[in-house]
């Protein structure tokens, strides 16, 4: 905020007033009230900036001012403030081929990078200073040679074709490749980078790949060298042509000069190509990255081979193991089935034996019980036949288990009546179960 002016005068310092450094701190501010301020407006934004970045007023002012200044500076980049070489001012416009057009316009810092606007501006500025009319007004001689130089420089630099021709032979923009001595000291990238940047100006394809640094990837490095070995240059050497004589001179002479110029151009172009190739070769030779990549590649190849071999070996082993496992399983299965079969046979035989045994028990039980007749009575053949028939019939009707239980029951008794009881019970059970018709068992059933 602007300062406020007060017209009423300040009071006079009373007699005897004194304080350290002329300042006396007496009171304290009254406590403040907390309020919300409204988050709108440019002044709030300034307040917010200060508060969030914890800047004081003066800091914020300074930072804002710097930001504003920067913008102006960007605009000013095109302005020319190069000192003029007094020797250059003496130049004659006739000798325009030997003149450094960029230096004449004060653009020697920019050179091939200078934009058209910069050239125009530089021209204007130079014209304002060196116009012959101005010089005449200042009283000095009407020497307009440097003005002509300026005009010539502008003419060339504003014509894209002529500018290229000049740029082609603009040695001031070249960067010398490092000598062997320098290269030995290291600093490879720092030394070579600007060389390639400068050479890159002649490339028809833009942008030109950079040299990169120690950490560049293999592809990038390869791309870089490929690019430079297949460099497509627009550099030409017309600018250094000998002047072709006017028409009115000897025609043969003229043709001769033209031919000479052409040859010279071609020769220079070839020379330039070889020079560039040599340059790239030198760089490649000194490039540690290439060596490293080769080593890595070799290590990679070896690694791959070893890996492959190991993998093959492993595969073989695995196959063998698998076959063994299979064989083992098959054998096991076979054995198991054999055992099973044998077991089955045994059980069956045992069952058969048991049945046989039981049958014997049954038959013998009736026999022991005197064919279910009271003791002392002689069993006739008929009776024996009947009883045995019944027993056979019962045996035919019941299964092995029932037979076993029946045999158990019969085995436990010896008395004839009880044997008869067991048999009749069994007969009843069978009749009840519907397995035997009533009356089918003639003796036992009773």
């Amino acid at each position: 905020m602007a300062a406020v002016h007060f017209s009423l005068p300040l009071p006079v310092l009373p007699q005897g007033w004194s304080a350290e450094k002329d300042f006396k701190s007496i009171g304290q501010l009254s406590p403040a009230t907390q309020r919300n301020i409204e988050p709108v407006g440019p002044h709030f934004l300034a307040h917010e900036r200060r508060k969030r970045h914890q800047r004081t007023f003066s800091e914020d002012d300074r930072i804002q001012a710097q930001e504003n200044v920067k913008k102006v500076e960007d605009d000013d980049v095109g302005e020319i403030s190069e000192p003029e070489d007094p020797l250059m001012l003496q130049r004659d416009a006739k000798d325009w081929k030997g003149q450094d057009h960029y230096a004449v316009l004060g653009l020697s810092k920019h050179r091939y990078k200078a934009t058209e606007t910069q050239i125009k501006r530089a021209h204007r500025k130079k014209v304002l200073r060196h116009h012959p009319d101005k010089k005449a007004a200042a009283g000095s001689s009407e020497d307009d040679s440097f003005f002509k130089c300026i005009q010539k420089a502008t003419e060339i630099l504003l014509d894209p074709v002529k500018r290229r021709q000049f740029d082609s032979v603009d040695e001031a923009a070249d960067v010398e490749p490092p000598s062997k001595k320098q290269a030995q000291k290291g600093n490879f990238f720092k030394l070579w980078s600007p060389v390639f940047v400068a050479e890159g100006r002649f490339s028809k394809t833009q942008p030109v790949p950079r040299l990169g640094d120690d950490k560049s990837k293999k592809e990038d490095v390869e791309e870089f060298y490929n690019f430079w070995y297949n460099f497509d240059s627009w550099r030409s050497f017309e600018y250094q042509d000998e002047d072709v004589p006017d028409d009115n001179e000897n025609r043969d002479q003229k043709r001769h000069v033209e031919r000479k110029n052409n040859n010279a151009r071609k020769k220079k172009k070839t020379e330039d190509t070889t020079r560039l190739r040599q340059l790239v070769d030198d760089c490649l030779a000194g490039d540690e990255r290439i060596k490293r990549f080769k080593k890595e590649e070799r290590a990679g190849k070896d690694k791959k081979r070893l890996e492959r071999e190991a993998a093959e070996k492993k595969e073989k082993e695995d196959a063998q193991k698998a076959a063994e496992e299979k064989e083992r399983l098959r054998k096991e299965a076979e054995e198991a089935s054999k055992v099973e079969k044998a077991e089955g046979k045994k059980v069956k035989e045992a069952a058969k034996n048991a049945v046989k045994k039981n049958k014997r028990v049954l038959k013998s039980s009736v026999k022991d019980a005197n064919y279910l007749l009271p003791a002392g009575e002689e069993a006739g053949a008929k009776r024996v036949d009947q009883v045995l028939n019944d027993v056979e019939a019962v045996m035919a009707k019941i299964d092995a288990e029932e037979m076993a239980s029946l045999a158990g029951k019969l085995g436990g008794v010896k008395v004839a009546e009880e044997v008869g009881k067991v048999w009749s019970e069994e007969a009843k059970r069978l009749v009840g179960a519907g397995k035997v018709k009533e009356g089918e068992l003639k003796v036992i059933g009773t």
Binding site: V4, L10, L13, Q34, P42
Partner: protein, 577 residues
């Protein structure tokens, strides 16, 4: 449509406008290349777009077209819905919607039952959906005008807006494809609109912002300190002082006239009432501009045409009560801020009703002559009051549109906005250093947000020499003194008491009220020695956020000078708002 919108949203290009979304009218504004806020007219050429939507057979009408549907298609016309947004049905006042679609309870919000499709079915449309449609129409008008898709906005809201209402509004706008960059309060938007004018000078001042709208009036007292605004108090009115009350005065007047001639009351018939209401509003606007206005309605009631004229004096007489309510409302707000009428440096009239000349005349009488009344009838350079908040919003939009959303949120966080404000003014004694004899010149006004810095340039005694700069706190007091009666009406003072109550009004009018400074705590003293004849002394006071004070005193243009620091004071939590 949706994919297109998504595509628009993902693009980094932000085109932001300012939207003033009012209960009765809305307006939209943008900031031109030169940083000047301009109000955008919609397709119909309206800068004041009625916040009304109307539907006929699935066709949507907006603005003035929709407003005229209030006569014939009132059931499918939604108006005055802004205040319903983000509120539950129990807390809303449905009175303004009497003549349009009625609000009804729907889940937790408010909705309207309207035929917005071609079919005859009644659809329930929530208030947030209505808002989305309204904002979409506003944004499309702005997009058509600017030739660029508008995808962001700064929207103004009343001072008593709740957090739910903010959220609801932000969501509704987002659905309409408009990102709400920031919501700013209507009074501050109005102040900003004035302060952003190139000719405006940033001064410390107390501003009364009277936002007189169609259905409500909001008063805010704003302390503007070096371009930073703090709201000191607010007061609101929804019943007695708003545009519709003025309309009602005219409606009643014309209805009475109609009854006199035709024996029917047009207010009894809904349609007649709607017609009369529209016309009365037009008449009111005409009366703000000219001394006479006519009101004519075809087939007002029973097929009888009505035509009548009214002059401004008559209107002002009829509406005297309503005008009085406006003035009282403002007085109340000033009182609430613990201020006096004399403290007010500026009155900004905002909102459509502010066009009424009588209101500003009343205010001119209320406030001292030094107070500037910024309204079209008192100041020719005043900005159109109905577009003030939209302009303010547009300016804010241009300021914040480059920021990230997060950045804006952080900047408007209470951490940043809550700031200690000085309770008393800080100033320098002039003429004499004696507290009794000297005069206090305020350098930093009270209610200034800290940190702040102010510079004052003081004159010195004629011959220069050594001077003392005494810095103290100042308390503003109102000195009431009576002028000598004899000088005014030639009567001796003793006569007065006999006349009693009749004269009391006179007596008050003759009271002279003055703002005077009383010196409070003395803060510091500094001596400046050997000031040249005719020289000046520059005093710079810087109050830090922790209430430490830095003082720098030196001869203007000179080097060195005296510097000193004062101790910190404590900050009192939540002062009276």
């Amino acid at each position: 449509m949706s994919s297109q919108e998504e595509g628009e949203l993902s693009s980094p290009e932000i085109t932001a406008i300012g939207i003033s979304f009012g209960n009765s009218n809305s307006s939209i504004a943008y900031t031109s290349g030169e940083g000047k806020a301009e109000v955008i007219a919609n397709e119909e050429g309206d800068r004041q777009i009625p916040s009304v939507l109307s539907y006929i057979e699935g066709e949507e009408y907006h603005g003035t077209q929709a407003k005229s549907q209030l006569v014939r298609n009132s059931k499918n016309t939604v108006a005055y819905f802004r205040d319903f947004l983000g509120r539950d049905f129990d807390s809303i006042d449905p009175t303004p919607c009497h003549a349009s679609a009625h609000p009804q309870k729907h889940e937790s919000t408010v909705a309207f039952s309207i035929q917005d499709q071609e079919s005859d079915a009644q659809n329930i449309v929530t208030v947030s959906e209505i808002t989305t449609r309204h904002i979409r129409r506003l944004a499309s008008s702005a997009s058509d005008f600017l030739g660029k898709k508008v995808n962001a906005a700064v929207i103004t809201v009343p001072t008593n807006v709740t957090e739910e209402q903010r959220v609801a509004l932000s969501e509704a706008a987002k659905k309409a494809g408009v990102e709400v960059l920031q919501m700013i309060l209507e009074p501050t938007a109005a102040v900003l609109a004035y302060d952003a004018r190139p000719e405006a000078k940033i001064k410390d001042k107390i501003i009364v912002v009277a936002d007189l709208g169609g259905t409500r009036s909001d008063i805010a007292i704003v302390a503007s300190r070096g371009g930073i605004y703090s709201i000191l108090s607010t007061s609101h009115d929804y019943e007695t002082a708003a545009g519709v009350q003025l309309d009602q005065v005219l409606i009643d007047h014309f209805a009475k006239e109609f009854i006199k001639k035709n024996k029917t009351d047009p207010r009894k018939n809904e349609r007649s009432m709607a017609k009369l209401k529209l016309e009365a509003e037009a008449t009111k606007k005409a009366l703000s501009l000219g001394g006479n206005a006519s009101c004519s309605v075809e087939s007002l009631a029973n097929g009888i045409d009505f035509s009548s004229t009214i002059n401004r004096t008559r209107y002002e007489l009829l509406a005297g009560k309503v005008f009085g309510a406006f003035t009282r409302l403002i007085e109340e707000a000033v009182r609430k801020a613990d201020l006096d009428i004399l403290d007010v440096d500026e009155v900004i009239l905002s909102g459509g009703t502010s066009h009424t000349p009588k209101i500003s005349q009343n205010l001119q009488r209320l406030f001292p002559p030094t107070t500037r009344i910024l309204s079209p009838s008192t100041l020719p350079t005043a900005i159109d009051p109905s577009s003030l908040s939209a302009r303010g919003a547009a300016i804010q939009a241009s300021l914040v549109q480059e920021f990230e959303k997060d950045d804006i949120e952080q900047s408007t966080h209470p951490m940043v906005t809550v700031t200690p404000h000085l309770r008393n003014a800080i100033g320098v004694m002039v003429v004499s250093e004696d507290v009794k004899k000297g005069l206090f010149s305020a350098l930093v006004e009270k209610e200034t947000a800290v940190p702040c810095r102010r510079t004052g340039v003081f004159a010195v005694p004629r011959d220069g020499g050594d001077v003392i700069v005494k810095i103290c706190e100042g308390l503003r007091e109102i000195k009431v003194s009576k002028k000598e009666k004899a000088k005014i009406n030639g009567k001796p003072a003793s006569d007065d008491s006999e006349l009693d109550s009749d004269d009391e009004e006179d007596e008050e009018a003759e009271e002279i009220r003055e703002k005077v400074w009383k010196v409070g705590t003395v803060l510091a003293e500094a001596g400046v020695k050997g000031v040249k004849k005719g020289g000046k002394v520059e005093v710079r006071i810087k109050v830090e956020a922790d209430l430490g004070v830095q003082v720098e005193v030196r001869e203007a243009g000179g080097k060195g000078g005296v510097r000193g620091t004062l101790e910190k004071a404590r900050v009192v939590e939540n002062g009276s708002a």
